[in-house]
C-alpha cells in the first residue's frame, strides 16, 4: 500500500544519499552521546561501589576508581546488612508473584477477550481504575486487614499485595493477544474434540507465548522492585525484601556510599540481566502503554 508514493525516494540523486548517510552517522553519534550521559548515574553507582571509604570522598571525585576495592561487595554478601537473606526473600516474593499473576491473569484475559459479559466488562473497568491508584492508599487498609488476619510479617501478605499491581496490567496487556488469535482455529480444535479449556491450554497459549513471557517478566520485575507494600506490611527483617533492606541501610549508614552503591548494584543486577535477555518482549510491552506501576 505504500508503493505509489515511494517512487520519488528511489529517484534521489546519489549526492543526496551520501548527505543522508552523513546525517545518519551524525545522528548516531549524538544518540550515543545522549545514551552515555543518560546512563552516567548507573556508571557512577558501579564506580562508587568499587571505591574505598577515602576514595569515595576524594575531591575532585575519581572518574575511574584509583585502586579497585571489592570490600563493599564483601560487606554486602556478609550477614552484616542482612542482604543475602533479603535477596532470598525478594526471589521468593517475585517468583511467587510471577506464577500467581500468570495463573490468575491468563484465564481472566481470555474471558474478557472472548467471553464478554456484564461481569467481565466491569472487571475490566475495575482493573483499569485500580492500576491508577496510589499503592499507599491500598496499603493502609491492607495493613489493618492483614493485621486482623494475623498475616503481618508474612510472605503471603506481600505477595498478595503485589498482585494488586501486576494483575491489572497483565490482564490489560494480555487481552489483545487473545483477541488477535483467530477464532476459526479455536473452533476447528473444538470440532476435533478438544474441550474449551483444552483448546486454551493446548492451542491458544502456545501461540501467544510472547505475550505471556512479557507479562511474566513484568510481574517479576515489578515485584522485585516493589517497596511500598513491603515497607508497610512488614517489620521483621528476616522476611523483608531487598528494597526495604536498602532503605534500612540508608537510614543507618546514609553516607557509607560505597556499600550503598554496592547494595544498589546487587539489586539492579538481576533486573538488568533479565532486561538484556528478554529485551524485545519487554520493550514491546512497554510500547503498548498502560504499564508503569
Amino acid at each position: 500500500m505504500t508503493t505509489p508514493p515511494t517512487t520519488p525516494r528511489a529517484a534521489r540523486p546519489p549526492m543526496r544519499r551520501s548527505t543522508a548517510k552523513r546525517s545518519a552517522a551524525l545522528k548516531s553519534a549524538i544518540a550515543w552521546l545522549i545514551a552515555a550521559a543518560y546512563l552516567f548515574p548507573v556508571y557512577w553507582m558501579i564506580n562508587t561501589s568499587l571505591k574505598t571509604g577515602k576514595d569515595m570522598f576524594a575531591v575532585p571525585p575519581q572518574m575511574v576508581p584509583e585502586d579497585l576495592y571489592l570490600g563493599s561487595y564483601a560487606a554486602v554478601f556478609s550477614p552484616t546488612y542482612g542482604i543475602p537473606q533479603a535477596f532470598l526473600n525478594s526471589t521468593i516474593i517475585a517468583t511467587s508473584v510471577l506464577v500467581l499473576t500468570l495463573l490468575i491473569a491468563i484465564p481472566a484475559s481470555y474471558a474478557v477477550a472472548r467471553l464478554r459479559g456484564r461481569v467481565t466488562t466491569s472487571m475490566m473497568i475495575m482493573l483499569t481504575v485500580v492500576q491508577l491508584l496510589p499503592a499507599i492508599a491500598i496499603s493502609v487498609p491492607l495493613f489493618v486487614m492483614f493485621r486482623q488476619a494475623g498475616l503481618i510479617n508474612s510472605y503471603l501478605s506481600m505477595i498478595l499485595a503485589d498482585i494488586s499491581v501486576t494483575l491489572p496490567f497483565a490482564v490489560i496487556l494480555l487481552r489483545p493477544y487473545f483477541k488477535m488469535f483467530p477464532y476459526e482455529v479455536e473452533e476447528a480444535a473444538r470440532i476435533d474434540g478438544l474441550s474449551a479449556i483444552g483448546t486454551i491450554i493446548r492451542i491458544v497459549i502456545p501461540t501467544i507465548r510472547p505475550g505471556i513471557i512479557m507479562i511474566g517478566s513484568f510481574a517479576f520485575l515489578m515485584a522485585w522492585g516493589e517497596f511500598t507494600f513491603a515497607l508497610t506490611l512488614t517489620t521483621e527483617q528476616s522476611i523483608q525484601p531487598l528494597t526495604v533492606a536498602l532503605n534500612r541501610i540508608i537510614g543507618q549508614y546514609g553516607t557509607a556510599w560505597n556499600d550503598l552503591m554496592a547494595t544498589a548494584a546487587v539489586i539492579a543486577a538481576p533486573v538488568l540481566i533479565l532486561f538484556i535477555v528478554l529485551q524485545r518482549y519487554i520493550v514491546a510491552g512497554l510500547a503498548s502503554g498502560a504499564t508503569k506501576g
Binding site: T2, P5, P8, R9, A25, K27, I30, A31, A35, Y38, L39, P41, W44, M45, F57, P61, I104, P107, A111, L115, G117, V119, M123, I125, M126, T128, V129, V130, L132, P134, I136, A137, I138, V140, P141, V144, M145, R147, I163, S164, L167, G225, E226, F227, T228, T232, L246, N247, W257, A264, A268, V271, F275, I282, V283, L286, A287, G289, A290, K292
Partner: protein, 289 residues
C-alpha cells in the same frame, strides 16, 4: 459460554473483590473511626463520623502537601512530555544504533525506584556529589548547591530523578504513536514545499493529539502517585519540602499511627485519580470502537 467466562475470570474476580474492592471500602470505614496505634492494639474502634476529614482538611500540612503534589506533577508532566516528544522525533527515522540506544534509555524505567533514588541521593550529595563537581568544573556554580538539604532544590532534585525515569517512557509511547503516521503525508508536504516546522505543526502535532492525551493522562496519574522514589531520596524532607500527598498519607499513618486520619487523607488523595480514571476509561473505550 457465559458460564465458562465466569469460571475463567473467577480467580481474578475473587482477588479483586477481596484485595482491591474490599480494602478500598474498608479504607472509607477506617476514615470514619478513631483508629490509631493504641486502640488497634486493644481492638475497639469507635465511629466518629467525619471528624477525621475535618482534622485533615484543617491541617495546613495537608494543603501544603497538595500544593507540592501539584508542583511535582505539573513539572514532571510538562518536562517529560516535551523532552520525550523531542527524543521520539529524533528516534523516528532509522539510523545506525537506533534500536540498541533506545533500549539503553529504558534502563531508567526498568530499575527499581529505590535503587534509582539511592543513586541520585549520592549524585546530588552536597559535599561529594558528582553533579556539584561537574557544575563547578563547568563554571555554572561557585558554591556547592545544597541539593537535598534545602527545600526548593530538594524538590528540583526529586523532579530530575523522576524525569530520568519518565522521559524515556514517554518517548517510547510517543514514538509508537509517531510510527502510526503515514510517511506519505510528509512526502506530499515536502513536495508542496512545507518547512520542517510547518510539517510538525500541521501534520505531526494534530495527528498525535489522541496519543498525547492518553500519554498526558497516564502521566498525571503515574506522577501523582510516586511514593518510593521521593521517600527514599528525601523522606519527605528537608522539613516538609518534598512531602507530597502520598508521603503525607504514609507519615500520618505509619509514623504517627493515626490510622483514622491516615485513611481520611488517603481517601482525599484518591479523588484526583478516581476522577481522571473516568476520562481514562472513556478514552480507552473510544479507542476500542
Amino acid at each position: 459460554m457465559r458460564r465458562l467466562g465466569l469460571a475463567l475470570a473467577a480467580p481474578a474476580l475473587i482477588y479483586i473483590a477481596v484485595f482491591l474492592a474490599f480494602p478500598l471500602l474498608y479504607n472509607f470505614y477506617l476514615s470514619v473511626t478513631d483508629a490509631q496505634g493504641a486502640n488497634l492494639i486493644s481492638g475497639s474502634l469507635q465511629f466518629i463520623g467525619a471528624a477525621n476529614y475535618g482534622t485533615v482538611l484543617a491541617d495546613p500540612e495537608f494543603w501544603h502537601s497538595g500544593l507540592l503534589s501539584l508542583i511535582f506533577t505539573v513539572a514532571c508532566l510538562v518536562l517529560q512530555y516535551v523532552f520525550g516528544f523531542a527524543l521520539a522525533l529524533f528516534f523516528r527515522k532509522p539510523f545506525p544504533g537506533n534500536g540498541p540506544i533506545r533500549a539503553l534509555l529504558l534502563v531508567g524505567w526498568i530499575l527499581p525506584p529505590v535503587v534509582t533514588a539511592t543513586v541520585f541521593r549520592w549524585v546530588f550529595d552536597t559535599d561529594y556529589g558528582v553533579l556539584n563537581h561537574f557544575m563547578t568544573t563547568l563554571g555554572l556554580i561557585d558554591e556547592p548547591v545544597r541539593w537535598l538539604s534545602q527545600g526548593a532544590t530538594a524538590m528540583i532534585a526529586v523532579i530530575i530523578a523522576n524525569l530520568w525515569v519518565g522521559i524515556p517512557f514517554n518517548m517510547l509511547l510517543l514514538l509508537s504513536g509517531l510510527h502510526l503516521i503515514d510517511d506519505s503525508l510528509y512526502e506530499a508536504a515536502s513536495v508542496d514545499g512545507a518547512s520542517r516546522w510547518r510539517q510538525f505543526t500541521n501534520i505531526t502535532y494534530p495527528l498525535m493529539a489522541p496519543v498525547s492525551i492518553s500519554v498526558l493522562l497516564l502521566g498525571v496519574i503515574n506522577t501523582y502517585k510516586v511514593f518510593d522514589l521521593i521517600y527514599t531520596m528525601t523522606r519527605g524532607g528537608p522539613v516538609n519540602s518534598t512531602t507530597t500527598l502520598p508521603i503525607y498519607t504514609y507519615l500520618e499513618t505509619f509514623s504517627f499511627f493515626q490510622f483514622g486520619t491516615g485513611a481520611a487523607a488517603s481517601a482525599l488523595t484518591l479523588i484526583l485519580p478516581l476522577a481522571l480514571s473516568y476520562f481514562y476509561v472513556k478514552s480507552l473505550n473510544e479507542e476500542e470502537r
